[in-house]
Amino acid sequence: MGNRCAVIGVGQTHYTTRRRDVSMAGLVREAALRALEDAGLTFADIDAVVVGKAPDLFEGVMMPEAYLADALGAAGKPMMRVHTAGSVGGSTALVGASLIQGGVHDRVLVVAYEKQSESNATWALTTHLPFTSSLVVGAGGYFAPHIREYMRRSGAPDHIGTLVAVKDRLNALKNPYAHLRIPGIDRAMVESTPMLWEPIRYLETCPSSDGACAIVLSSEHAVTGTPAWVHGGAMRSEPIFRAGRDTVSPQAGIDCAADVYRQAGVTDPRRDLDVAEVYVPFSWYEPMWLENLGFCGVNEGWKLTEAGATALDGDIPWNASGGVLSSNPIGASGLIRFAEAALQVRGMAGEHQVEGARKALGHAYGGGAQFFAMWIVGAEKP
């Protein structure tokens, strides 16, 4: 994986339904300036900028890196735009890290964002191309059948999704940047909300958020402040329409995890990792990804959730930040996972800090659960 790379700055905006007070440029700049401040640097110290976001149709701006170059201090520098569906935030971090691991640059600013209030994501995701059938279902309608299949296979009881929805929102109450901070959140409240796509209830889904996340990546000799070292990074993709692919536990996710674990020397993720920030946009994806990522055996994921293993005080906390269920500026959601993993091993996660976290997983997925991006960061130099 080339030269050593570290996260030396993290910046986030407060995720919310509508940021009426800023333009898209203002939004990304806010996150970028916070990341630079964290690293003790300015735009002048940055060699290259990598921007990621989900489909351009979400805001109606095509190839927005052209317009955002000025706000991100990129003029005169190399700038890249990554787009790998929902996994894009993670992929963007990996593309930024690649520039350092490949020895091309010493400091790279990585920014991902979505300003969902500019349009309607469900509409933008359900356009009707010629010669294809339009499902008009949005992401929830696409993933619900996969969740039902998981429930059938594993025999998981119906309330597991509810437990995840409550657990992540309790964590969000400890994260000042989280979008959904719901006082008094409990199972009864989740179960009282409408069924959107069976078995997914309203409070078992992610919100639509405006927000941006930025990180500053550094080569070994250019580190400032407190580094989170990249111990491994991996991407995997598989075709959406391949007959026979397992959409409940995709091979690309299994392979991606195996790759990143190998790089980081992780043999038992539940034991070797201290905390994981995993892309869970619908509650049931926690037990599904617990299995796909090898934290337990097949059909056992829901038992970890039920036993509280993934809670903030459990043996392997998942989504201490509140996760995608609590904040979802889509294009940024993957980068937030990667950034929160870095904050944990830097010991800078604030109230949702997992005590003594030394090694953390950041995870993102996208498309029809076919694009995966992961990294493992650690407090120690690899």
């Binding site: 994986m1 080339g2 333009s23 989900a54 489909p55 351009d56 149709l57 805001e59 109606g60 701006v61 095509m62 190839m63 927005p64 890196e65 052209a66 317009y67 955002l68 170059a69 000025d70 990129a74 003029a75 005169g76 520098k77 190399p78 700038m79 890249m80 735009r81 990554v82 787009h83 790998t84 569906a85 992929s91 990996l94 593309v95 690649s98 520039l99 691991q101 490949g102 020895g103 091309v104 995701l125 356009t127 191309l129 991996a234 991407m235 995997r236 993709s237 598989e238 075709p239 959406i240 391949r242 692919r245 091979q251 690309a252 392979d255 991606c256 498309g367 029809g368 076919q370 694009f371």
Partner: protein, 325 residues
């Protein structure tokens, strides 16, 4: 940097209209061709470039994975940019040293919509897009600032294209790149895969830079970002036999030739360039492929390729290709 070379290049026979092929069908033959040329069926890294707005739907790159037959799952990424920038990402990935091959492809069907108006959407949505400037309008702004013999550029490009079987069969020279559907693919190799191969075009330098977005903040008669990218790529370190430039409007060639510091004898766009075929999102990648082809067929010892993005040449990538590493 670790030596990386182009080992294979293929492009579609471009068309000025929709032939009824979906994007995945457009890509499949060029992927097959570069697999055959390179003798490689699997790649350490794959990266592509495309634009959702050309198809008018999100995730135009998703169905492309079906054309690749990405199984078992592959290490893959995508840029919402011209595929020349995907090639840059792949070149960076090959610098890590753990993988030795990369597949890069780009595709676009600009016949599907009104490309000129679609390009308005890449402008600042608050201050520029509402002015209603379409692609021709802002190119016209730059054209009016630049001095040069634009018809001569158009004529030479059109004449060169007569021997390019992949270019459109245009009845007469044009100063504006035509609406085109097409795709292209390149295979990059490094490390052990460089051994035992004789037909290679080494990428001895590659770099890109972006300028401020607002045309009013730039001197449109020059391209600071193209000049900086050319310097970083080392264009001036040797002779330039051939240059393939991403010229979508004839006046851009004047600006770019100066910014890149091309010597007087350089043959510019022997393929006819984008004025003869402009499959948006693959056009820049094709410049790299064409330049590499000139090196591989021996007509050039050293060639330069250029790709651009954004209004009025805002973002420029320059690569130097050579027979020697």
């Amino acid at each position: 940097m670790r030596p990386v070379a182009v080992a294979a290049f293929a492009q579609t026979t471009h068309t000025d209209h929709d032939t009824g092929l979906a994007e995945a069908e457009l890509i499949l033959p060029v992927i097959r061709a570069v697999r055959e040329q390179s003798g490689l069926t699997e790649f350490g890294f794959t990266c592509s470039g495309s634009c959702d707005y050309l198809a008018g739907a999100p995730f135009s790159f998703v169905s492309a994975l079906d054309a690749l037959g990405a199984w078992p799952p592959i290490q893959e990424s995508h840029v919402e940019m011209d595929a020349a920038f995907a090639l840059y990402e792949a070149w960076v990935r090959l610098q890590h040293g753990d993988v030795d091959s990369a597949l890069v492809y780009g595709f676009g069907k600009s016949s599907m919509g009104d490309l000129r108006e679609i390009m308005t959407l890449q402008l600042d949505p608050y201050y520029l897009a509402p002015l209603g400037l379409d692609q021709l309008s802002y190119a016209g702004l730059q054209r009016s600032a630049v001095k040069g013999d634009f018809p001569a550029v158009a004529r030479r490009s059109w004449e060169s294209a007569q021997t390019n079987p992949y270019a459109l069969k245009l009845p007469e020279p044009v100063e504006t790149a035509p609406i085109t559907d097409g795709a292209a693919a390149i295979v990059l190799v490094a490390g052990d895969l460089l051994q035992d191969r004789t037909n290679l075009a080494y990428i001895t330098g590659i770099a890109h830079r972006i300028d401020p977005h607002y045309p009013g903040m730039r001197d449109l008669t020059r391209s600071a970002s193209a000049a900086a990218a050319a310097t970083a790529a080392g264009v001036g370190k040797g002779p330039v036999d051939v240059a393939e430039l991403h010229v979508q409007f004839a006046h851009e060639e004047i600006v770019l030739a100066e910014a890149l510091g091309l010597p007087a004898g350089t043959v510019v766009n022997p393929s006819g360039g984008p004025l003869a075929a402009n499959p948006v999102m693959a056009t820049g990648l094709i410049r790299i492929g064409e330049a590499a082809s000139r090196v591989m067929d021996g007509t050039a010892a050293r060639a330069v390729a250029h790709a651009t993005s954004g209004p009025c040449l805002q973002h420029n990538l320059v690569a130097v290709l050579s027979r020697e590493s």
